[in-house]
Symmetry: C2
Subunit: 197 residues, 2 copies
């Protein structure tokens, strides 16, 4: 998605070979016009898939999934992150390890909002190692619902997340795929392909 790549190029900040900061438009200050375009693109990609629920994870997943859910006429559910597990039989729970923060969080979704028969589109702001995605898959499986696929705003293609999801047979649609953050600059997968061809 060219408009997103342009935002990453001009308003993103490469902090290291692994870390891209996009808090000017995605996960602290939000460019709502760009988020609407992103949400509509996810909706277009999954328009034929009879989506009944859009599932994301707080907080940064909410803005890019908002318009996707609106266009698909499906409720948006955001999984909640919690530090510690309080026993609660009303929620599905999974564990997500964060490599950045070096800690494991529980994520929870109320049993009221996901059930067998639901066809779920999972949206998140980043796909890196895929830990959050695996936690969300686990929750959808606990609900005996099915997954139509993933909508990712920014994929760090040099990490293992996409590979893991594809090996499990999931469809992954990423609107910007980053090949490398080396030497302080962003190279996208398709730029790379273009250079090679």
């Amino acid at each position: 998605m060219e408009r997103l790549k342009q935002a990453i190029r001009t308003r993103g900040k490469v902090l290291s070979d692994d870390v891209l900061k996009v808090d000017t438009f995605l996960n602290h200050q939000i460019d709502t016009e760009l988020m609407i375009a992103i949400g509509k693109e996810f909706a277009r990609l999954y328009s034929e898939n009879n989506i009944t629920k859009v599932l994301t994870i707080e907080s940064s997943g909410i803005a890019p999934s908002f318009m996707a859910a609106t266009e698909l006429k499906a409720p948006l559910i955001f999984a909640r992150k919690k530090k510690s597990l309080t026993m609660n039989h009303d929620v599905y729970v999974s564990q997500v390890y964060s490599f950045t923060k070096r800690e494991t969080n529980d994520i929870t979704v109320s049993k009221d909002f996901l059930a067998a028969g639901d066809r779920v589109l999972i949206i998140d702001d980043f796909l890196a190692n895929g830990q959050a995605a695996l936690g969300l898959i686990d929750i959808v499986k606990q609900a005996n619902a099915s997954i139509a696929g993933f909508g990712i705003v920014i994929e760090k293609s040099f990490q293992g997340g996409r590979k893991q999801l594809e090996e499990q047979g999931y469809r992954v649609e990423s609107l910007a795929r980053i090949q490398s953050l080396q030497a302080g600059s962003v190279t996208f997968v398709d730029d790379f392909a273009a250079v090679r061809s």
Copy 2:
């Protein structure tokens, strides 16, 4: 806002004299159509106020403020909640005490996103005791920006939040004002006025 009151009546759940659960449409599962209507109403109410930034707090403030920011053509910023303060000179920090959770959290906003000259609309899902609102005021003051007013989805008018904000001279626009949650049912301020008049 009649449509919101109807959602509270039919899809909300009174858990106690103090607690209204609205996770079916506002703060876990999100009814994006209703959130769009809410956001547009905030934008209409503040359309003459030259808003340059919409400020909310993660996670539940993001959905209802999304369309307000879009319509006002202003960036949306969400304050981040953190358990503990890591010293960081790049952010404004304030403390918010939660009566429900009986704990104090830091809230932070990057100095990159609020500055002198900004005219800020503060939006939140609930106004109860006003602790979150006071923290957000503190942050806007640290930035030497000014506050146009508050947009609140649900005000618990039997708690002290509105009074505190009005005493400090702030405009408070609440789309649903709850007079009482006693005896397991919701009474709105205007229903109450209607009965009295």
